[in-house]
């Protein structure tokens, strides 16, 4: 069998399906390969979908896609062992015709997206693992080897959307191994509850949702973050830390998740729920400085496999779709101009990314990963100090407020020192500037 396509896309997550859809829609012959039983069966996300990136590819997606709750409220909780200090933002503005974020179920969403790819005319084959890239004598990628009999297939361009582990680019020597200090391991459980109970517990109406992001002493100085998201009939609860931190020992991923579930601010949300799935996933959190080479002769990398995640803003699937779209548009343009898919010509893909929010945002936060590594007290000391400060103010105990103010200032100076506090503020502002 020597079948040849215009393009092969490896993977049926948001990045791969965006790329395959845009190319198929433009009339190219596209083969999309997915190793899972069905699209989405290997894919894990929180999962909040940001509308904008998808809307640019499928403007009518709201009428068709399996969307769960429109997220109208975002909460950020800073936890200590016994308390949380929270910041909420909720607005009726989020309740418009075109909500900008939804909770989704990836197994359903990815299936829908990949169906769109099929409808656009691409060939989609599941249960097929791509084992290696096929290069010609000049080192140009000309196809892929799969684990099926007679499993070699050929194409003018191969788009690698094979996820965070980026196996193909790594095995082909196009990139290095993920760094353990820049890769987060997240574990998650789905807790099922009646939808009206979820609505009561989170103070929301039908179809409305809440997203809670959690930081604090829970991760015991490990760089990490938890989350609690509402779906229609379940609550997703997860927590992640840098792989390098787990490697040092002291806490297991599942132990950490169980501790989050037991926290006094979290536990009542989950009472009498039924846990129906446990998943784990890596997130490339190295940001701008960790982005590998994303194109070469006959190949491009998109989404998680290109490390396109903004961990500060919890954005990834949107960047995946945008990068898939740009890669596809590069292919379409070069085809039209009868140009080859040489590394030189594919540079357009990177230029498109550089000029978009994807690389601009990652550049803005490029100092952040390093900042967090060097300032672990942000995860431990500050939640404690702030929680204690608020408790001090609220306590009615016969001590006058002025003395309480002094007491709080003393506790901050004692905990971190005046110069430490000033240095932290400067470093923090610099890291996000």
């Amino acid at each position: 069998m020597t079948e040849k396509f215009d393009a092969i896309v490896v993977g049926a997550g948001p990045a791969g399906s965006a790329a395959a859809y845009v190319m198929a829609k433009a009339g190219l012959s596209v083969l999309q390969l997915e190793r899972g039983e069905y699209p989405g069966s290997k894919n894990v996300q929180g999962a909040i979908l940001y509308s904008d990136a998808l809307e640019r590819i499928i403007p009518e997606f709201r009428d068709e896609a399996p969307l769960e709750r429109n997220i109208i409220e975002q909460r950020v909780w800073m936890l200590t062992d016994k308390s949380h200090v929270g910041f909420d933002f909720r607005s009726e503005e989020f309740n418009n015709d075109k909500p900008d974020r939804y909770s989704i179920i990836r197994a359903q969403f990815d299936r829908w997206f990949c169906n769109k790819v099929k409808q656009a005319g691409a060939m989609v084959i599941c249960e097929t693992l791509v084992k290696a890239l096929i290069e010609n004598e000049h080192g140009r990628v000309i196809g892929v080897t799969t684990d099926r009999d007679d499993g070699d297939v050929f194409a003018d361009i191969v788009i690698l959307a094979d996820g965070v582990n980026s196996n193909l680019a790594r095995v082909s020597g196009y990139r290095n191994e993920l760094e353990n200090k820049n890769t987060a391991l997240v574990v998650k459980e789905m807790h099922f509850l009646r939808s009206d109970i979820i609505q009561n517990r989170f103070n929301i109406n039908e179809k409305e949702g809440v997203a809670i992001e959690v930081v604090g002493t829970l991760t015991r100085g490990k760089i990490g973050m938890g989350f609690i998201y509402t779906n229609l009939e379940f609550i997703s609860i997860g927590i992640g830390c840098m792989v390098g931190d787990f490697q040092k020992g002291g806490l297991t991923p599942y132990g950490l998740l169980d501790e989050l579930k037991e926290h006094p601010s979290v536990k009542p949300l989950l009472i009498s729920s039924e846990m129906k799935e446990y998943s784990a996933h890596l997130i490339p959190e190295g940001g701008y400085n960790a982005i590998p080479k994303i194109y070469g002769d006959g190949w491009m990398v998109v989404g998680d496999s290109a490390g396109l995640v903004n961990s500060i803003h919890r954005e990834g699937s949107n960047m995946a779709m945008t990068s898939g779209q740009f890669a596809a548009e590069t292919v379409i343009a070069l085809k039209k101009e009868f140009k080859s898919f040489s590394e030189h010509n594919l540079a357009r893909y990177k230029i498109a990314l550089d000029n978009s929010y994807v690389i601009k945002d990652l550049k803005k936060y490029k100092r952040m990963p390093n900042f967090l590594h060097k300032n672990r007290h942000f995860f431990t000391l500050y939640p404690e100090l702030i929680s204690e400060a608020i408790a001090t103010i609220l306590r009615v105990d016969g001590i006058d407020k002025k003395s309480k103010g002094k007491q709080i200032i003393r506790s901050f100076r004692k905990g971190r020192g005046l110069f430490g506090l000033i240095a932290d503020s400067i470093k923090f502002v610099r890291a996000i500037r």
Partner: protein
Amino acid sequence: MSNNVEEKLFQNRYLLDKENTHIRIKNLDLCRTSCSQPCTFSCPAACYEKTEDGNIELMTDGCLECGTCRIICPNNNLEWSYPRGGFGISFKFG
């Protein structure tokens, strides 16, 4: 395997490939003699267990295919790939 992980994994759907294992330890001696064995506490599915004689026992049945073990292995002592197409974890929700 720690009990609460087993309970968690029990909820998941797997299509087990009885003929192949997708992760293999290259040199077992290396695990015993010169390794802090982070796989035994970092794997989210607790696939790696330390036996009484200090060896590492690898059971990939509950594997969530995350890749953590490959990244953390101090001796780069794993042959790591995904399961054959159609096999392994199959998330109902994801």
